[in-house]
Amino acid sequence: MSCKCIEFQNVSYMYNLGSREVKALINVSLKIPKGEFVSVVGASGSGKSTLAKHCNGILTPVEGNVFVNGKNTSQRAVKKRLWKEVGLVMQSPEKQLFEATVFDDVAFGPRNLNLSERETERAVEQALHWVGLDSKEIGKISPFSLSGGEKRRVAIAGILALSPSVLVLDEPLAGLDPSGRKRLLGQLKLLHKDQGITVVLITHNMDDAAAVSDRIVVMNEGKIQAVGPLEKVFLSAQELEEMGLELPFAARLLRCLAGRGYRVSEGYTLDRAAEEILKIYRNRGGHSV
């Protein structure tokens, strides 16, 4: 078990609700190699957040095991150190902001790691830079005076300041405006590329998942329904709809056109779909640039 990765081995988890048990994960097995960008998609209540919380030991399996960098998260000693390795950005992380200034909030983690004030300052500046914010500009103001999108990014910077090797984000784009979504998604992609961070993105937006991921994990009612690269995972549109999901817009458009008798290949991004449409247009003698 020495591979640098997150590995779920036959993991089951139940929430205990008095007399009743609700199964949130059922026999989940999954390997996430180091340096991968994985998206976990699924309907509300399909077990995505429960899966995320297993990645850094906040929850430990009722049955089965989770290994992070080869270490079993169920062991107390491992669990206590895990937060330095796996950064978990929870749903609406801006709710966890608490310090008087943006700088102090992002610095909370590094200070707890006993970094010197100089190192802390460097870590904070770097982390804010990664999410597109300038420490000099906003470091001294209260995080509560920022807009929703900025608060979100400050909260994510607070996790990044711990320099985790794995970043797990639970619906980080929910509630952001389109340009904010695009920016954060771009920053995650860059962080993944430049820093080699392993990223696990929890989302139910297929367009977002399609834009950034190496692989997609589809969850349905606590089980993993499918794992693989985009084109393998986007089963039939109907199957996805039954799970409460939706194909990316471009894929729906191309399938609609195919249904009308046009010969088009599959595609998952707008650019790809535009190419397909222009190809037909040119074949019909239309002029395009």
Binding site: L17, S44, I277, S288
Partner: protein, 293 residues
């Protein structure tokens, strides 16, 4: 997903909510001062479905909170059913007319059990117990939470809690429902459920809806769209009017709906679609494409 046509012209009626030269500044009682709203004047008529769009930090949530007196103006006035929101005696009445679904459901889900949470609102309004039961049953069925009636709210997922918050307000049967990004954590199916429900209560029961949203597609359900831009009401008009101004929307950091982006992408490459103002959904786009391909 297509929406039925909004209700007919209702402008002859008296407005349900009027905003006049509304200003709001945070930090008036100490702390950093920041102007969030500047000189907003607009009317909301009974039966309107208004979509409020705008980038993060443009003042959408602040505006929403003025509609049921959670915030009161620093300058100007907000009238709800001819009641001034700054008069404390009016607040109770105003809040029974205008219900609010917050961005973050944890802010408004309070009871120990899902069905109790839904019952809380109507009970507080003094609704008969038998009627409360009927409403709870009804809205839990409508929002798809029926099977979770006996669960504690904390055992629901983020998206399910959003549905619960909505169910609680729906059970109060207000004249107007203000929703601040009610679908941000929902999957496409539940998002569609909520949108269908909103359209239904609006078109069939005439409930006035004010929907703050980041999903441009959701704005298509509205009869009017307000664009918030840096604390001001930058634009207001019909869906067609507002979305035909591509340049402006992009300038303030909004993204066009996917179908419109596609139209633009194609036109940049020399394929111009004639009827583009009316393209909102993938089906519209396919129709148009079939004409030219």
């Amino acid at each position: 997903m297509k929406y039925s046509t909004p209700l007919a012209d209702n402008v002859k009626e008296k407005p349900l909510i009027s905003l006049r030269e509304l200003d709001y500044t945070y930090g008036q009682h100490g702390g950093a001062r920041r102007t969030a709203l500047k000189g907003i004047s607009a009317d909301i008529f009974p039966g309107d479905f208004i979509a409020v769009i705008g980038p993060n930090g443009s003042g959408k949530s602040t505006l929403a909170r003025h509609l049921n007196a959670l915030l009161v103006p620093s300058g100007g006035k907000v009238w709800v059913g001819e009641m001034d929101t700054t008069v404390p005696e009016n607040v109770w009445k105003i809040r029974s007319l205008v219900g609010m679904v917050f961005q973050n459901p944890d802010n408004q889900v309070i009871a120990a059990m899902v069905e109790e949470d839904v019952a809380f609102g109507p009970e507080n309004l003094g609704v008969e117990p038998s009627e409360v039961r009927r409403r709870v049953f009804d809205v839990l069925a409508k929002t798809g939470l029926k099977d979770m009636a006996k669960r504690p709210p904390h055992a629901l997922s983020g998206g399910q809690k959003q549905l619960l918050a909505f169910a609680g307000v729906l059970a109060m049967q207000p004249k107007c429902i203000v929703l601040d990004e009610p679908t941000s954590m929902l999957d496409p199916r539940n998002r569609k459920n909520i949108m269908d429900l909103l359209v239904k209560v609006n078109r069939e029961q005439g409930v006035t809806i004010v929907l703050v949203t980041h999903f441009m597609e959701e704005a298509f359900a509205a009869n009017r769209v307000w664009v918030m831009d840096n604390g001001k009401l930058g634009q207001q008009g019909s869906v067609e009017e507002v979305f035909s101004n591509w340049k402006y929307l992009e300038d303030i950091g909004l993204e066009l709906p996917a179908a419109r982006r596609m139209v633009k992408l194609l036109s940049d490459k020399g394929l111009n679609l004639p009827q583009r103002e009316h393209i909102f959904f993938p089906e519209d786009l396919v129709e148009e494409l079939c004409h030219v391909l």
